[in-house]
Subunit: 411 residues, 2 copies
């Protein structure tokens, strides 16, 4: 007998038929003798509808009210799944974030979980009662107001609850059957991974693989929550195991590169002929940081005469226009010749903890891409990944090239 | 400066345009210097959608989960209206029932308000902040679970909150501009009443006028809450006063009959040739009461030979089939000859506190209806109203006849 958290995303609870299907997955685990806490998202499309209403009411909506509005989506699904479970003979009750409570910071719209009191859920287990928990939401204790955790926040709810109740496992059910070496829509030969290390999953999520919210992987890593990514579209009577996200030492045969991720949400800005004097980088990047714009890749190329320099950097595509306005406003201070921008760029990343012990992994990629005629605009590397910024039109070619290069095509 | 509660029903908050219109009504009162608490229903259609999902999940759904699901509708509107108010420069925040808290019984699906702590709302007024309250919902303190008050419950929320914060007035905004002498769709000459006594409104609501939930009128009467029924479709800059529901003594020129109500939700059952022996009425009506079936009108006609009797009674149309099954099961015990039922019947009622001091009011109606060829199946009377059960096809004729008879056509 184990204690499980099962999390179901929006497409898994999109309508009553899907909710009944989820109930069958839960029933299987209950009948296997496990204590089960289920975490649910809003029905797919619901959160978007609620967000659109807030934006319609005011472009500068109060995020505290936004949270009250959007948290209602998960409330509905939690009640409906509890009813669907009771209908097939499984004792169950719904829990809203504030009822447990799941305490969060007051950063409305993207709150962080601060503590979870798991005792009421455990009391429910002692009554053989499944806990059906509204994901994505919590309460700020001091103000007593509803909070939400940001897009994908139900993943984080699930992992944090698993940590709070010391669950043996957290199963994240989604519309894919696991974590792949890369997006199978781009590389048909992409393979589902049996295991991924927490650190790798963290990089993949940060670098564009949308299978899990980044924050949820951080929480899983810190609290060592054994987390599976698996499909709710499997036959409930005969499900596939999915991908286990686990400690590095639990992975026996480690590849050098585990996966290739890519992100289209990038934009590039280049300042031409910046006077190369001390403090110029601070003059550019401090104002961007003050405006909460996340600068990712930075490259600086000194000109032949060594008197001026070109500075290129990337920002999230959503912040591109804002960043441009800020840099244009700094022209007098910085003294650059021209500002160029590009949004048709993509960041391709290769991730693998094996890179720690293998030299020259990135260099092989630069050569392979050059051989295919792919021009690299910028490069960043870290201990277990490297990323290249390229023109968007080369996305598929570059992903396939790297996927083959690192032996990920092989079964 | 006064303290107001303003309540807006589903059609008044049906979409963002309607919510913005509500914000203008609120703005008018805030700019007049009043402290304002607003109570909102779910967007029209939303509650039906949520109820349908619960029924789809299980015909015998857990009412506690039903409450969690359907309470979400008001949560959404409260947040959206708070945002819409802020957008036009009015300080506002949303309040869920559990946040105030509005404490209720644990009769999920039709809970009764037990207490309301108005202090947090009053603190908001001191900050010049409009309270936007999710109607229809509360919390059962012992279990910590969400409750709802039953259909039309937001009216009761509004009046109960008005009592708790000692409001000077409770304005119920709806899609009609007040309480009418009868349904204007049936009698074009129907007039809007300036004032109606609490007792009269209670009878009208009980007898089929759907303008207010019965329970809300009871609460208003007990706590002497000056309640207006008025239209949210009026120009917010130039609204009409609507109908005041008030104490009898505040009504100067009292009519004998104030209004004509009718209810189509009736069904009639007749037991022919029941053996006329002591205890037969108990044998019929106790089992119905045990099954929670509300018997309304009862008439008993003794046959010429005085050995048997016919017993006719009415039940809500929704309980007709259940009542028939129960009575058929009692045939052996009671010993009647045949059971007849009719659902094409309607109950027409005339209401007026003036009846207390005027004799023969009902008798005039019986004659007027007979003159028009309307057959009366059953009659009930009380201090301030009488009702007749007639064939449904005579509904309009009977309502118009009584409306004219009691002088309600006159301006």
């Amino acid at each position: 007998m184990a204690r499980l958290v099962m999390k179901f995303g929006g497409t898994s609870v999109a309508n009553l038929d899907r909710i009944r299907n989820v109930a069958q997955h839960v029933k299987r685990e209950v009948e296997a003798g496990h204590d089960v806490a289920v975490v649910v998202s809003a029905m797919s499309g619901k959160t978007n509808e609620l967000v659109a209403w807030c934006t319609d009411a005011s472009k500068l909506y109060d995020k505290r009210e936004y949270d009250a509005v959007v948290a209602s989506g998960e409330q509905v699904t939690s009640g409906l799944l509890a009813i669907a479970l009771q209908e097939i003979g499984i004792s169950a009750r719904s829990w809203q974030g504030w009822q447990i409570p799941i305490r969060t910071s007051d950063a409305h719209g993207s709150a962080r979980i601060e503590s979870i009191d798991g005792s009421s859920l455990v009391n429910g287990f002692n009554r053989k009662e499944v806990a059906v928990i509204a994901g994505f939401q919590g309460i700020h204790a001091e103000s007593g107001r509803l909070t939400t955790l940001g897009r994908g926040g139900s993943d984080t709810s699930a992992v944090a609850i698993a940590a709070a109740i010391e669950a043996d496992r957290c199963d994240i059910y989604t519309d894919v059957d696991g974590v792949y070496t890369t997006d199978p829509r781009i590389v048909p030969k992409a393979r589902r991974l049996d295991r991924v290390a927490f650190e790798e999953m963290l990089e993949m999520a940060s670098l564009g693989a949308k299978v899990l919210q980044v924050r949820s992987v951080e929480v899983a890593m810190v609290h060592k929550v054994k987390t599976f990514v698996r499909s709710s579209f499997d036959d409930p009577a005969n499900p596939q195991p999915g991908t286990l996200i686990c400690d590095e030492e639990d992975i026996v045969e480690q590849q050098v590169v585990t996966g290739i991720a890519f992100s289209k949400d990038e934009a590039q800005l280049t300042l031409r002929s910046v006077a190369d004097k001390p403090g110029v980088a601070a003059a550019i990047f401090v104002p961007l940081a003050d405006a909460n714009i996340n600068v990712d890749m930075i490259i600086q190329v000194v000109s032949n005469d060594k008197k001026s320099t070109d500075i290129t950097f990337t920002v999230p595509a959503a912040d591109f226009e804002r960043a441009k306005v800020i840099i244009e406003g700094l022209r007098g201070d910085i003294g650059y010749e021209s500002l160029q921008g590009a949004t048709d760029v993509v960041k391709i990343s290769a991730i693998g903890i094996g890179m720690r012990s293998h030299a020259g992994v990135a260099a092989r990629a630069f050569k392979a891409l050059a051989d295919k005629g792919v021009n690299i605009r910028a490069i960043t590397t870290s201990e277990i990944k490297f990323s290249v910024l390229i023109d968007a039109e080369y996305t598929e070619l570059a992903v396939r090239t790297l996927h083959t290069l690192y032996g990920l095509d092989k079964p």
